[in-house]
């Protein structure tokens, strides 16, 4: 089986993915979903990291409502039952919607508070994501999975195979944190650019144009980045190398990656609406956020880990 490469932080080193022979019995989309579900049933403790992160997210969402920052909390299906959503990493505030006006003209102290707030959330999601990916990776026997997609390794058997420990190394955690922050900075900068330079739908533009832009720009980029966190946490890659590796997998299996990307994004959105219309909007926001993060975030992390473990066995080459 393929052993994750830990060479960057001194932990046990496995075979380079690029040196792996391609495996004819590669795991497909259905196989990944089966692995994810069965892994979750076998190890419900995988829910714990994102349950804790969900509590952080719920608290943050309610605090956001009470803060003077203009932010919306929108529960499914306010944006429509058919809602296109992508998430590079699970978000701890899946109901939050902002406009570019949020950042325009912010006083430095409030901008600093906003950035600190986002950094704190990024740190929380980093720890949870890395934790679940690491735990999931330990539990997946790639060889078994390929030969029998429904098979899951026996819990605890990985230690005897020399897999890394439960807690990811600080180096990998740091790189994942840098990656998550980088994504957030790009999104925030995009928001600022849109507002500062008045970039928006031009005269006569339609929603169709935005849809095409989303389909042909956002989705391909997000697909290329989908497995980056796993490449960092499991593969031990630096962010740039991880992005390249993730992009290679996306090129090889574009349909699978796009489906996983949209499914995880949609799932996170749908789960925000489970408590919609409750007795109190704030309670609805808190419970919807918690459920979305705890369940959606966990599934997202497991599927990313499973896909990386299984597909990296097929061999990785950027050429």
């Amino acid at each position: 089986m393929s052993t994750p490469n830990d060479s960057n932080d001194g932990t046990p080193t496995g075979t380079e993915p690029s040196q792996q022979p391609a495996d004819d019995a590669s795991v497909g989309l259905i196989g990944l979903i089966r692995i994810t579900i069965m892994l979750l049933r076998a190890r419900p403790a995988l829910l714990v990291p994102f349950a804790l992160a969900g509590a952080v997210g719920a608290t943050s969402a309610v605090a956001r409502i009470e803060s003077p920052y203009p932010v919306d909390m929108v529960a499914f299906p306010a944006n429509g039952v058919v809602h296109l959503s992508v998430a590079l990493v699970p978000t701890l505030e899946p109901m939050a919607e902002v406009n570019s006006g949020l950042v325009l003209g912010l006083k430095p102290v409030f901008l600093a508070v906003l950035i600190g707030w986002q950094v704190g959330l990024a740190l929380a999601v980093t720890v949870a994501f890395a934790g679940v990916v690491r735990l999931a990776a330990r539990s997946i026997s790639k060889t078994d999975a390929i030969s029998s997609p429904s098979a899951i390794s026996e819990v605890g058997s990985d230690e005897s195979r020399g897999l890394p420990g439960i807690v990811p190394s600080l180096v990998r955690l740091g790189w994942l944190f840098a990656y998550v922050l980088g994504v957030q900075v790009v999104l925030l900068a995009g928001l600022f650019v849109v507002g500062a330079f008045g970039i928006g739908p031009g005269p006569g533009s339609t929603g169709l144009g935005l849809l095409f832009g989303w389909l042909f720009v956002v989705v391909p980029i997000a697909s290329g980045l989908f497995l980056t966190p796993a490449a960092i946490v499991i593969g031990g890659k630096r962010p740039v190398e991880a992005v390249i590796e993730s992009a290679v997998y996306a090129v090889r299996r574009p349909l699978s990656v796009v489906v996983l990307l949209l499914t995880t994004g949609y799932l996170g959105t749908v789960l925000t609406g489970v408590f919609h219309g409750g007795p109190s909007p704030r309670i609805g926001v808190a419970l919807g956020t918690f459920t979305s993060v705890a369940v959606g975030g966990t599934l997202h992390a497991i599927v990313v880990a499973a896909a990386y473990i299984c597909w990296s066995a097929d061999g990785y080459s950027s050429h």
Binding site: P68, D72, N99, G105, L106, K107, F110, P203
Partner: protein
């Protein structure tokens, strides 16, 4: 009353705590700071007095300090804050230096700035530049106001510069609620110490909102003040800062009947509780002018409210004085006018601009100054001119500044001595017509006085006068 207080309690406490945590602990002050040169809302101040106490204007005529020409007028009343003029017209928004007239004209290619009511400006704790408040009928948008940040063109509803939307029922930071047309009411928000006080006829509510995020501080359901079997429609509102009372004027109409009962209510601007309600008369809507009750017909200063309505028996325009704290009626004064144009109030006098019919003559300005204490007439004059658009919910009401009473009209801008009614000067400019001739530029907005200058929108030009 109980309903309003309940509305306040929990949310207000939570919002207050949030603001304290978010802003108070960080020691934020509202910026940009207020100044004597500001004209931040329609009517200049929360009482819509249109009085500029410390201005200095020439008695012998004005010169053009700057001029910005346009290809279509359609001016909305300018607002001034932080030495910046914001003035919307048919095809764009001017954001200009009040002293030089230099700045951006943001062309508009969508609903931004169209079919709106007069804008307002509010300071903010979170943002350096404050917020430009644009009322689209029942929906109000808050936009980043920074003078240097406006692009050359604004598409759509200006979403990229919007911070929040509110409609009296809810607030959103990212989505525009369904809009409704402006109608026969003056829905221009008032700004009182960083709080927006706004009317929302669709939800029949008067609401107070935070200028940073548009969050609701309190909401008063205006349906609760109408008598059983009557439906209430808001007309306009002012806030008396001396007594802390928001005064709302309503028309209440019996269902399936033509009887209209004007109603004034006093609501605490602190917590949204009902303080008083007063009816002035009962009128048949068929007896009155179009619009029934003039929308821009309220002003308040130093604890006294002045309202204009129609006397049923004499069919004359009538001014009424009320106590802002109790709603108790004071003096009334009948005026033989065919139309109400506007009202302004200074320390001692109330100035009313109306129209009179003269046989075989066009309608003409009739201007009267009344003593605020007794309602007695100090002076009255007739000017051979009339407003260009007299029947909008808002228009070109008079301004009191220095020794002047400024009255926009078809011939430009008239300046009268506010002590005697004597005409001091008339600012008239000509504009060429397509037929090769020329016509006078009409004054189409209130004369906004800022830092000893007058800003006024006229036919195809915005002027800064000094």
């Amino acid at each position: 009353m109980k309903n309003s207080v309940e509305n306040v309690s929990r949310r207000a406490v939570l919002a207050g705590a949030g603001s304290l945590l978010g802003a108070g602990c960080l020691g934020a002050e509202r910026t940009p700071g207020t100044s004597d040169t500001d004209w931040r809302m329609y009517g200049r101040d929360p009482g819509r007095t249109r009085f500029v106490p410390n201005a200095s204007l020439p008695r012998d005529g004005v010169d053009i300090a700057w001029e910005r020409s346009v290809s279509a007028s359609g001016w909305y009343p300018p607002v001034v804050a932080n030495e910046t003029v914001y003035c919307q017209y048919s095809n764009g928004l001017f954001v200009l230096d009040a002293a030089t007239g230099e700045g951006t004209r943001a062309s508009t290619y969508g609903p931004f700035g169209r079919d709106i009511l007069p804008m307002a400006f509010a300071s903010t704790e979170l943002y350096r530049d404050g917020v430009l408040v644009v009322p689209y009928g029942t929906v109000i948008g808050g936009y980043a106001a920074d003078r240097g940040g406006w692009p050359d063109s604004v598409s759509g509803i200006g979403q990229e510069r919007a911070r929040w939307w509110l409609d009296g029922d809810s607030t959103s930071a990212s989505r525009l609620p369904p809009r409704a047309s402006a109608g026969e009411w003056l829905g221009s928000p008032l700004v009182v110490d960083g709080t927006l006080v706004s009317l929302h006829p669709r939800s029949a509510a008067l609401s107070a909102s935070d200028s940073d995020d548009g969050s609701n501080r309190w909401r008063f359901d205006l349906e609760t003040v109408a008598a059983d079997g009557y439906v209430a429609s808001p007309v306009g509102h002012v806030v008396d800062t001396t007594t802390g009372t928001a005064v709302v004027k309503l028309r209440t109409r019996r269902e399936e009947a033509a009887v209209v009962v004007p109603l004034l209510v006093g609501i605490s601007s602190e917590n949204g509780s009902l303080e008083w309600r007063t009816t002035t008369d009962e009128v048949s809507s068929g007896d009155t002018k179009p619009g029934v009750e003039p929308a821009d017909s309220l002003t308040t200063r130093d604890g006294t409210v002045y309202t204009i309505d129609w006397n049923t028996s004499t069919r004359a325009l009538r001014l009424c004085e009320l106590d802002a704290a109790t709603g108790e009626l004071g003096w009334t004064k009948s005026l033989d006018r065919s139309e109400h144009i506007g009202v302004a109030v200074d320390e001692a006098r109330l100035y009313h601009v109306g129209l009179i019919d003269r046989e075989e003559m066009p309608e003409t300005f009739r201007i009267v100054a009344l003593d605020r204490d007794s309602g007695s007439r100090r002076w009255a004059v007739t000017i051979d001119d009339a407003p260009l658009v007299p029947r909008l919910p808002y228009g070109a009401p008079p301004t009191v500044a220095d020794e002047h009473l400024l009255v926009p009209g078809k011939r430009g801008l008239h300046a009268l001595d506010r002590g005697t009614g004597e005409t001091l000067w008339t600012f008239t400019e000509m504009v060429p017509t397509s037929g090769g001739g020329s016509v006078e530029r009409s004054g189409m907005t209130p004369a906004v006085v800022t830092d000893d200058r007058i800003v006024i929108g006229t036919t195809l030009a915005l002027y800064g006068l000094e």
